[in-house]
Amino acid sequence: MKILAKDKVAELLEKIAQQAEVYVPMAIEQGSGFYPWTEDNKNQPLLLDALNVYNSPKYILFPQTERMYDLKQQGQDLSIDQTHEDSSPRVIFGVRACDARALRSLDDVFLTRGFEDSFYKARRDNVTVIGNACYAPGANCFCEAMGVDLTEPEADVILRDAGNDGYIWESKTETGDKLTRAVAEFLNDKETKAPEAKSFQTQVDYDGVAEKLKGMFEHPLWEKMAEPCVNCGACTYICPSCHCFDIQVKMWGDSGYRFRCWDSCMYAEYSAEAGGGNPRPSGVERFRNRFLHKLEFFSERYGYSLCTGCGRCTIVCPAGVRITDIIKAIKEVDSSVGL
């Protein structure tokens, strides 16, 4: 099998960086996330051992703000001069299984059901994902309960940390094979074994929850669960699979551009309508919509949950809302109570 020695990682990244923008999990100042491997960042600590970084790689394929096209208005004339699909080659190094699953859900949203989003597609078609298998799930992790195999990230290449022997390098796709050939000089052949995966500290049972939720839209449980939520939207911004966006414009006089930016279903303006109406007028309805989207609606539409079990929303929530508690509560409650 192919092995990437740990002391070769920097050199390998250096080599890939000659052909592509490389993103790696790093700690920079107080934050951690996937940052570009640039001269400035190179001496920052790589976080390949840490379980998951604070910010997911979502923004690399779906930037928080993305310029779409340039507009010019002159008198009655209107023109679109340039669109900004970005097809630069990119490599994301060290993606955990939960975040790789989130990329699959972004793929399903942006690339299927009648329309392919050209901005997402340009980035997606030119990205290579190198996964990093997990063997010791963290305190807030529950990906397995959500149908994710922690040791098999859905990626082009999978790295498996075999301790002192280095990383086992397993190519999974043609894109992965291509990259493997390009970095062959840093890989050597050696037999070793990936560790056994440890068991999860957070135990959740999601089985049957999506189905059970079908009849629970009006359940009093929502009011109770939403009570602490202040609708700040932090959980939606940090979530690797939340994909909602707004479309806005920036104009200076006669020229400018239209862009999209992440939006949050936790905000009232998100669904406000003419005449002051809003189908989700209070925080409870917005809270319910978010968690039903994660736990029921998406799986009705695409066949699996939109929550990957990464645990990030639990960490950021200022009000102590835990999606795992929500799943448990739904699992346990009598679905007909109060209806």
Partner: protein, 277 residues
Amino acid sequence: MSDCNCEQPLVPHIVEVIDIVEETPDVKSFYVKSAGGGLPYQVMPGQCSMLSLPVGEGMFSCTWQEGQEYQQYAIKRVGLLTEELHQIEVGQKLGLRGPYGNGFPIAASRGKDMLFIAGGIGLAPLRSFIKHCFKNRSDYGKITIIYGSRSYNDLCFKKELFEEWPNQPDTEVHVTIDNPEEAWKGHVGFVPAYVEELAPDPAGKVSVTCGPPIMIKFALQSLQKLGFEDEQIVTTLEMRMKCGIGKCGRCNIGSQYICLDGPVFDLTQLKQLPQEW
């Protein structure tokens, strides 16, 4: 023929306004063709487009019939974009993308009697279906149109409403306004109550309702009272939209996106969705 920008569904192409007609004090119709000439793209009755000026984009129902080299949009002035649209003049270039949505069940309604119920600007989307029925008159049975607005001035498409449609074969047009007016000799009252009063027989009919959400809610109740079955009750839903293609997440009801899976639903489908509309 169609140059739908399917490769870049979020990027509009440029169209030119070739005519503007004032329908009511706050509704204008805009006729558009591609900036290069010709039809921007074909649309089915009930489908919509995103029309834009730099200030913003908005979803509007499109009226187009086979053979026409232009599309028509009837637009009510309610906010930022629509206010600016009401200021423009013929020759103005706009952004346009589409067509979006599923459209009305044209094929499934063939051979049926048609009952159209509209309120206010809601006649705009219905009108494309109504025109389709008249154009293919023998495909449809009796046509009944029930339409209402706040006042006489607010009635859209008066020429069709009072002159053209009532003279079509086997067609009834019933118009109502919310409050009495001196010159108005017709019916006064809300649309749903008028529907119950007219009590159309459900046998062999498809009803299609379009209007403000509150009118839709009551009209659907009236239809059920009159004995219409769920699958005979077709309506359109409206929610705030941004992308129009089922990606931005904004217009969901349960697992359905109104922009993509709707805006047209029948009551059987609506009953399977959360009551959030």
